[in-house]
Each structure stands twice: as C-alpha cells, then as structure tokens.
C-alpha cells in the first residue's frame, strides 16, 4: 500500500515538474524593472506619465513599458521618486498643482507589477517639490521635502515637514533672505537635502523660473528646533558667471561606512564643483568649506546627483555626460575607484540592478534639466541645456563601465525621461 501511494506521489510530482508547475521556473524577475518618470513633449503630442520599464538587456522585453499611468491634467511632470521606510512610493513634482504625490503600486493576479495611479498631496501652498528625506526630530520621524519655490516670491523656498502616516503638513520651515536680519541664516530655492544626527542640510539652488535668482549657499537646520541655524557659502569659480547653484548634497556619515569621517559634500550646478565641509560631532560645528573636485580643471560640468552602493559613491556630471565613481570608505575625500562611466549628455539619475544572468549593471538617465529640445520647437526649451537632453537611459556593466545598451525614449515613445532612481520592489531605493 505504502509503495503504491508513494509511487503515485513520485509520478505525479514528476508530472508536475514536467508540465512546468514549479513556481520558481515561471518566476518573473523584478530586479531590473525600473520606475521612470516620463515627460510628454508638446510638439510630439505626448503626455507626462509614470511607468515601469524593463531595463535588463538580456530580457526579451528590454525597453518595454510594463505599466504606465499618464498625467494628462498636469502641465509639468513629476520629478523625483522616493520609497519611504515603510515602502510607500512618493514623487515630488514641478507643477504647482502637484508638487508632492503618493504613487499607488500593486500587483495583479498574475504577479505583474501595476501602477494604480497617484494622489497629489496638500502641501499648504509649497510648490516645486524636489528632494525627500525621512529623518527624526526629537524622537519622532517625519518626511522632509524641499520645495524650490516654497510658498512663492522672488526669494521663496521651504522645507516641508510632513506626518509620515497621514501625509499632512506638520510645519513649514521658511526663512526668507529678505525677511531675516543681516547675517541671519536663510533658506532660498532649496533642492538637495541630507542629514546626520540632529543636523540637516539643504542647498540653495535656483529660482524655479530659472531667471529670477540663483543661490550659492547651504543652509544648516537644527533638527531639534526645526529652525535654520547657519549658512555656508560654497562658491569659487564662476565658469558661467552665475552664482554657484549648489544642487544635490550628501551628509557623508559613519552609518554609510564605518570609516567615514562626517562631512557634507555638495555639488554646484553652475560652479561645476564638488565641495567638502567637515563636521565635528563633538562641538556640532562645521569646518571650512573647500573644493575637492573642480569641473573646470577636469573638463566636466554640471555635477548633479550622489548615489551609493555598498562600497562606492557615484556622482553624475551632465557634461559631457559621465558618472564618476569613488571609494565609499574614503569619504569625505573623493578617491577614484575606477574609470568614468560614459553615458550620454545630461547624465543625471541612476539605479543599480542585476541582469537575469547575474551581471551587475548601472542604468543612467540622461536628461539634464528634463526640458525639451530646440529641434522640436519645444516651448520648454532653454538654450543653455538644449543639447543636454539625450532622452536616453544607458545601461552599463557596473564593474567595467562598458556601455551595453540604451533605451531612447524620444525615439521609441516620443517622450523625454526625467527620472530613474528606483525599481519596482519592496522598498528599494537609491538616492543620497
């Protein structure tokens, strides 16, 4: 009896295997499915959208949009993507009507990732959302969002403090240069944000209209009081004869790597430099700001983003379109860890992932300021960056930097690509 029973079991088990019922064999990989924010190009009659794109060159679906939700009613597209520590996906946005949004993700009954839609959040008048960071103030975690336009005006700019559960505004951190006393710390056009212990840093980048004003300082915020306490000027060379326009910032800290001495790193968009400002944890004071990378000397321009892996730091440079790489453990010094990854003009955001065969890859999104192209008579075109919107995501071998493939969104979808810095996954995130 037992022999019969177990013989049947073996036979049926073998049968199941033969017809391919093992879930592992039918596994759909998600390690290479990137979340992208796409910009509709007015002259090509396309709409802004949020999409999931397959980025593994080894996949038959490479370059395909697996799910897409359009934003037909929003003039300017969403801008940055962040997963919260609890796995909720947020996006900042350039449109005043949707400067911050939560994106709904799910899976259908086949397991296929689905973008359900997005909900624009009430920012209490704060506009042009940029970066998000979750940090703690007096033991309570909040979502901090930089709004480059703040609540409006020529010297606007704010850091919105949001309840992590309800998404409600808890506080707006504002300090207009025109309203604070002479020499008092101000916040203006904030974009980059980072934090360590009870100190937060935001940058002063550029007025959202890109004409009214440009910043050149970092602002330190005391996370105990949620008030600005110090400005630090980061300006040296002026290759464009503009203020330096610090953009992204990284507070290098020991929890990134035990060997790191705390310091702020800041990229200046128009100064083409990377700055270092040492931080003394004992006295809670910052040392003298110094240039540790010169774009003029190294023939690169428009340094933008910081991203990290377990052992490397990556910095994108819009011109000529490269990603430089450094040893994480050596921070805050920039010690090269390998040759440049040569992407396309406008090299900007990036993600790291693996191919189906296990190859470590990096995908770089190449659109500088995410604007249109003069050749399309695009009304959003700005001459300075007209040639810096390749509209591509380039895929490279992470170890060698070798360029393996590219997706040209303009050619394939008549859209620009504004962002790729997250995968469809369980709280996976790459930024700052």
């Amino acid at each position: 009896m037992k022999v019969k029973v177990f013989a049947q079991s073996v036979l049926i088990g073998a049968g199941l295997l033969m017809v391919g019922l093992t879930p592992a064999q039918s596994q759909t990989r998600e390690e290479s499915q990137g979340m992208v924010l796409l910009r509709g190009l007015p002259t090509l009659d396309t709409k802004h959208s949020i999409a999931i794109v397959e980025l593994d060159p080894e996949s038959d679906q490479f370059g395909e949009l697996l799910s897409e939700v359009e934003q037909p009613d929003i003039q300017h597209p969403l801008h940055h993507l962040y997963y919260s520590p609890n796995g909720r996906l947020y996006s900042t946005g350039l449109d005043p009507s949707c400067s911050l949004a939560e994106i709904g993700l799910s899976r259908d009954s086949s397991g296929t990732p689905v973008i359900e839609g997005f909900t624009c959040l009430d920012t209490q008048g704060q506009i042009v959302g940029e970066d998000i960071m979750w940090a703690t103030s007096n033991g309570q975690e909040y979502m901090f969002v930089t709004f480059m336009g703040g609540t409006g005006g020529d010297d606007g700019g704010s850091v919105g403090v949001f309840d992590t559960q309800t998404n409600e505004v808890v506080k707006i951190i504002e300090a207009r240069k025109s309203q604070v006393g002479e020499g008092e710390p101000y916040i203006m056009y904030p974009h980059g944000i980072s934090a360590f212990d009870d100190r937060m840093v935001v940058t002063s980048t550029i007025h959202p209209d890109m004409a009214t004003g440009v910043g050149n300082v970092l602002t330190i915020i005391d996370l105990n009081t949620l008030e600005p306490i110090q400005n630090i000027v980061v300006e040296n060379e002026k290759p464009l004869d503009f203020p330096s326009s610090p953009v992204e910032v990284l507070f290098a800290r020991p929890d990134m790597h035990a060997d790191i001495e705390p310091a702020i790193l800041a990229n200046t968009m128009f100064g083409f430099e990377t700055w270092k400002i040492p931080y003394d944890t004992g006295s809670k004071t910052f040392g003298e700001a110094e240039v540790i990378y010169s774009g003029v000397a190294n023939e690169t321009a428009v340094p933008l983003e910081f991203y990290g892996t377990e052992d490397e730091l990556f910095i994108s440079h819009g011109l000529p379109g490269v990603v430089k790489r450094y040893e994480l453990a050596a921070l805050p010094e920039l010690v090269s860890s390998g040759p440049d990854i040569v992407a396309d003009p406008g090299a900007h955001h990036m993600i790291f992932f693996t191919s189906a065969s296990g190859r470590n890859l990096i995908a770089v999104q190449n659109n500088l300021l995410n604007l249109g192209n003069a050749a399309d008579d695009d009304p959003t075109d700005v001459d300075f960056i007209a040639d810096l919107s390749a509209h591509t995501i380039t895929i490279h071998d992470l170890e060698t930097g070798e360029r393996i493939a590219e997706v040209n969104f303009k050619e394939r979808y008549n859209k620009g690509v504004d962002n790729v810095e997250g995968l469809f996954g369980s709280g996976f995130v790459h930024h700052h």
């Binding site: 009896m1 037992k2 019969k4 029973v5 177990f6 049947q8 079991s9 049926i12 088990g13 049968g15 199941l16 017809v19 391919g20 019922l21 093992t22 879930p23 592992a24 039918s26 596994q27 759909t28 990989r29 998600e30 609890n86 796995g87 909720r88 993700l105 799910s106 899976r107 259908d108 009954s109 086949s110 397991g111 990732p113 689905v114 359900e116 992590t164 559960q165 309800t166 998404n167 929890d255 469809f424 996954g425 369980s426 709280g427």
Partner: protein, 373 residues
C-alpha cells in the same frame, strides 16, 4: 395564440437544452479573480503559467479544502488541521495522527503563501505548493487517501464534475492539487493593524511602535542600537522567511547537538542543515499558539523568553542569533538577546498588530458547506 405560446415554449426548451449541452462540452472557463490586488511591499510572486489564479479554480479548491472526501475514511479534511479562525493552524502542539498518536510536526499556518520561501513544510520537503498539496492527502498518518479512489469518488459527484469541468476540464489528481494550491495562494492576509500602519491608515501605540523598531533592528552595542533581531529571519513586511535559496530555513537554538532533529538535512542531505526548520510567517501569530515546529512553547512570552535568555548552542545554530546580544557585558552564562522586560513586552505588543481579523473571518475563505457561504 396557442401556436405562438407553443412555439415560444419549444424555443425555450431548445435553448435551455442547447445551453446545458454546451455547458457540459465546453472547455474550462478562466475568469480572473475579481478585484485581485496584492500589496506590492510583499514583494514579487509568480503563479505557475498553467495554473493561473481563476475564480473557478478558487471555488473548486475551497470546496476540496473543506471536504473530508479527500481522506481515505471520508472524515478528515484539510480544514481539520487548518482552521481559519486560527489562521489555518489547529491550536495543537502536534496534530493527531490518523492511526492514533500524533504527527511529527505542528500544523503550519497557511497565510501569504504566494510569497516567501518556495519550499513547504517545516523541513522543506515539498518544492512547490502543488507538490505539497498531495502529500498530506496520501500520507498514511494524515489523510491516507488513494488518489485513484479519490478521483473515482469525485467523479461520482455531479457538483464536482461541474466544478472541475469549469476550472480545468476534467477530474484528475493533478487538478485536485492545482485547485487546492489556488485556494491556498489566495489566503492573503493584508489588513492587520500593521498593514494599515504601512498604508498610512493607522497609528501604532507607543509600545507597538517601540516593538516594531526592536523587531526591525539587529542589536549593535557599538552604536547603542538595541534590537530584537527578528528581521534577520522574518522579513520586514511579510514577516516570513526569506525567499532566496534556503535563506528561509534556520536553526533557532531550540536543541543541543545531541537532540537536534534532522530538519532540512533530511531533504538536502547536507549536515550543515541539521536542525534547520522553515521560518514561519508571523502574520496572525497571536492566534497560532503553540509555537515552533513541535509546538513546545504555549505562549508568545515563552517564545520571547527563549530568544531572550534560552538559546541552546549547537553546531548549526544561526550565527545571526548567536551574535545578537543587547548586553554582552552582562555575563556569558546564557545566550540570548538580553532585552529588558519592557522591550520584550513591546515586541509582543507589535506581534499582536499582525492579527488580521478580516482574514480570520473572511467568508470567502470559510467552509462552503456551512451556512450561506
């Protein structure tokens, strides 16, 4: 007038007869599960391509799950040892064996099986849900059913003939296991207080939040980080074991080398896997006592006492458990987390937030042979 009436009646009979014949000869229907939406934070999942989640397969699987026809004596169903109100466990340390005595292991919870480790049973002896489903049916100590006899019995039922026809086309042992797998895959628990917290729809109490933070932290005295070390084995959102390779199995320090059962080693033959058992989901853990593969702990307090101060060292003990110590300077007489009583109670409070009342009472998962279900 009469002619019109008769013509209409004949047409009606012909139409009804045609429909009945067509319904009996047509192929299976594959109606996608209505309103299916899985939380993306649970991670990826895959359903076998030839056993997609359909309404027809789910309905059939649900009936089979609750039907004692699956057992040799027609008295034991899957639900005998997997009770919905107990998150599909049975509340016993070890389930009773059919010939008398008890089974080797405690009944496992059937929750969120779409995700996590793809080996099933405490010792991982089944490599797919479909393979798993047939084992208890045939096991002499569990349901002791001959599959050929089961198919014959099912074929004698008009209801099952109809349901199998709709779901798969024919009655077979393979389709029994497919249907049971579909039902089990649909046992999704995603509306606990913790889930609502993750969605921003609920707040945890101060104690629950403290417990959540401890749950998610591996203790590190160098940076004064206190932790319950739970997440090293129980993933952040699913709270089950990890999916990749055999990461979802562990020796969690229950027995010494001399008493260590084979566990996963019985399947892999690898001595390094001796004493490894599947890391279970902690979803609805407050209602699934007793705990561990052999049900040795009656309460969550006993479980926490084990991890806090009662780890038994053996050759294959998880190094993540061995090195997790919040107070290494407190003496080396015992191995454990050495958390404070408040911290222990906080973790237990958090574990209670994993109870999903909707899951435990959802009529879609209940016995279809009872009431109006």
């Amino acid at each position: 007038m009469l002619r019109v009436f008769l013509t209409a009646a004949v047409a009606g009979v012909i139409a009804a007869t045609t429909w009945v014949i067509w319904d009996r000869v047509r192929g299976p229907t594959a109606t996608p599960i209505a309103g299916f939406s899985a939380p993306f934070v649970f991670g990826r999942f895959a359903v076998p391509p030839d056993n997609p989640l359909t309404e027809e397969a789910f309905a059939l699987g649900r009936h089979l799950f609750y039907d004692p026809i699956l057992s040799g004596n027609n008295q034991v169903s899957c639900a005998t040892c997997h009770v919905q109100a107990l998150a599909f466990t049975d509340g016993l340390a070890k389930s009773p064996a059919l010939p008398g005595g008890e089974l080797e292991f405690s009944s496992m919870s059937l929750t969120n099986l779409l995700w996590g480790q793809e080996r099933f049973f405490w010792d991982g002896r089944a490599t797919s849900l479909e393979a798993q489903a047939l084992m208890p049916i045939q096991h002499p100590d569990e349901m002791d059913q001959d599959l050929g006899e089961l198919v014959t019995e099912l074929q004698a039922s008009r209801d099952y003939r109809r349901m199998f026809r709709k779901a798969y086309g024919e009655i077979s042992a393979e389709n029994v296991t497919r249907a049971l797998s579909t039902f089990m895959r649909m046992l999704i628990s995603s509306d606990s207080k913790y889930d609502r917290f993750l969605r921003g729809k609920a707040r945890l109490s101060e104690q629950e939040e403290h417990g959540r933070k401890l749950f998610m932290a591996h203790p590190d005295t160098k940076v004064s980080l206190r932790g319950g070390n739970c997440i090293d084995c129980h993933s952040q959102f699913l709270t089950s074991g990890f999916r990749d390779a055999l990461d979802g199995f562990s020796n969690n320090g229950l027995d010494s080398d001399g008493d260590l059962p084979d566990g996963l080693m019985a399947v892999t033959g690898n001595p390094a896997h001796k004493g490894f058992f599947k890391v279970p989901t902690l979803r609805n853990i407050a209602v699934t006592a007793p705990y561990m593969h052999d049900g040795r702990f009656e309460t969550l307090e006993e479980v926490m006492d084990h991890y806090n101060d009662g780890i038994v060292v053996s050759d294959t003990l998880s190094p993540l458990i061995l090195e997790a110590d919040n107070a290494p300077e407190a003496g080396q007489g015992t191995v454990g987390l050495r958390m404070t009583p408040d911290e222990v109670q906080s973790i237990i409070a958090f574990l209670h937030t994993l109870t999903d009342e909707d899951f435990l009472t959802n009529t879609q998962f209940s016995n279809p042979f009872e009431g109006d279900s």
